[in-house]
Amino acid sequence: MASLIPCPHCGTRPREEFAVKGDAAPIRPELDAPASDWHEYLHLRDNPKGRHHEFWHHVSGCRRWLIVERDTASHEIYSITDAASAKQGGGA
């Protein structure tokens, strides 16, 4: 894992400041969605060897949720965006 993570709000920060939540792809189903949707959301993962989007929380920094696009084999980071901004359609 890279030792330094470029946070869009705080600049380059040490990796220890961040907590990793995991895969950013699953989207929480509606409450009345069928059980199979919930199963997929809760349990199934693409788990690729290569490019992967995941949620990171900058716990010891700006405390913003970020979406990090990272290679799970080389750990190269391709992009980091603010999760809330990304959901609203904007950039970091």
Binding site: G22, H39, L42, R45, P48, H75
Partner: protein, 416 residues
């Protein structure tokens, strides 16, 4: 060639020039009844029990590297069966019983050493949890004893009993737990399977799974197409990658777990000690090095290396438990890739594809399970029915609502 004290003596008389390789290096045949993907401990054990117990010998094991190059040769060598839940405990106890007879069974010295496993507790609540676990074990016929502080002190006087955050109050001890020389497990199973006709094909990477009319017909490999009647995946760490070749998504994330070996010491720790509250566990190898580790790094990874922050964390936890470690130097470290399942328990099951079988999701507990995993997977492949101790390890248990959540943490793979 059968190994014995006499064979060592006789070979010695002739300058040890007449030893033969422990297993062949065959060319792949065009077709096998069973092809096992993954020549780690579980894949080799599966092949061994298929040939030895279930009478299926037209089997190939495909390994992309060389035998012992992955987690089977790099883990922290611990065996135990101190599990709480009914879905887990009989399976791991079967494994421990198989360990106890393994060396005679496959005629290879795996240095099985039942030196005991001690889990420390630091609070009333943790003691109660271990009391419950120990009672559950004994109800399953497994050995367990609860040690108080003074009993632990008599065993391991050098621990920091008065640590301010985690004072040691006692521990749950399983005397039959211990350690095994892990690479000998790979070689022993490989030799045992090979001598019964199994082809172990190294440096043969599976690149695709061929299907016709919904049934698997064989695998594309770096050494050409190999046809099969049944295909068995035993590729923990990379299970998602191989399952994706057959279009399956698994309830698994791949994470990296680090392990460490120190410089050699004189005899110091004569059992396995776990300090779960501080994320540290340690034993001493027969060569004298301390073998220790902690938790997974916590992010998806297929890189066989971990972060320095975890190295520091493990070292801090180790020194907190055993202050005498502070001047010890690291000799080696290794990052292995783990299948972290959604409940912390493994999968030994059929898949939605009729002749595709799956052995996956071992989290960081795969080594101790090697014999039972191979035995139960071979049972499943040969008889198309789960072994009685592995019935709970279903692939569809998550969807049906029957997870085996030993830690009670929910579907969060980086916490198990």
């Amino acid at each position: 060639m059968r190994y014995s004290a006499l064979s060592i003596f006789l070979q010695g008389l002739t300058g040890n020039r007449r030893w033969t390789p422990a297993f062949r290096a065959p060319e792949p045949k065009p077709y096998y009844d069973v092809v096992i993907v993954g020549g780690g401990g579980h894949g080799l054990a599966t092949a061994y029990y298929l040939a030895r117990v279930f009478g299926v010998a037209n089997v190939a094991v495909l390994e992309k590297g060389y035998l012992g190059s992955g987690n089977v040769g790099r883990n922290t060598t611990i065996i135990r069966s101190n599990y709480l839940l009914p879905g887990n405990n009989p399976f791991y106890e079967l494994s421990l019983k198989l360990w106890e007879g393994l060396e005679q069974d496959f005629n290879f010295n795996a240095m099985v050493s039942q030196r005991g496993v001690l889990n420390l507790y630091h609070s009333d609540a943790q003691r109660d949890a271990y009391t419950r676990r120990g009672n559950a074990m004994r109800l399953h016929g497994v050995d367990a004893e609860l040690l108080d502080r003074e009993a632990v002190r008599a065993k391991l006087p050098f621990l920091d009993f008065d640590n301010a955050r985690f004072p040691i109050m006692g521990g749950l001890h399983q005397p039959r737990g211990g350690t095994v020389r892990h690479d000998a497990v790979a070689w022993g199973y490989a030799r045992g399977a090979d001598s019964r006709g199994v082809d172990i094909i190294q440096h043969c990477e599976v690149t695709g799974i061929r299907r016709e009319n919904g049934v698997v017909t064989g695998v594309e490999t770096s050494r050409g197409f190999i046809g099969c009647g049944k295909l068995a995946l035993a590729t923990a760490g990379h299970s998602s990658v191989t399952a994706a070749m057959a279009g399956l998504r698994l309830p698994i994330e791949s994470h990296v777990l680090q392990a460490f070996v120190s410089e050699g010491l004189k005899p110091f720790i004569d059992c396995v000690v776990t300090f779960g509250a501080g994320h540290f566990y340690v034993s001493q190898s027969d060569k004298g090095g301390l073998v220790f580790g902690g938790d997974i790094d916590g992010y998806n990874s297929y890189a066989q290396r971990g972060a320095l922050s975890l190295v520091e964390h493990v070292a801090e936890a180790g020194v907190a438990l055993i202050p005498a470690l502070s001047r010890l130097r690291f000799l080696r470290s290794w990052g292995g890739i783990m299948d972290m399942s959604m409940d912390g328990s493994p999968i030994i099951d059929r898949t939605p594809i009729e002749n595709l079988y799956l052995n996956a999701g071992w989290c960081y507990g795969g080594f101790k399970a090697t014999p039972a995993s191979g035995y139960c997977f071979a049972h499943l492949i040969a008889r198309d029915a789960s072994h009685e101790t592995a019935r709970a390890f279903r692939l569809d248990r998550f969807e049906r609502g029957y997870p085996i959540d030993e830690k009670g943490l929910g579907a969060q793979p980086n916490l198990h």
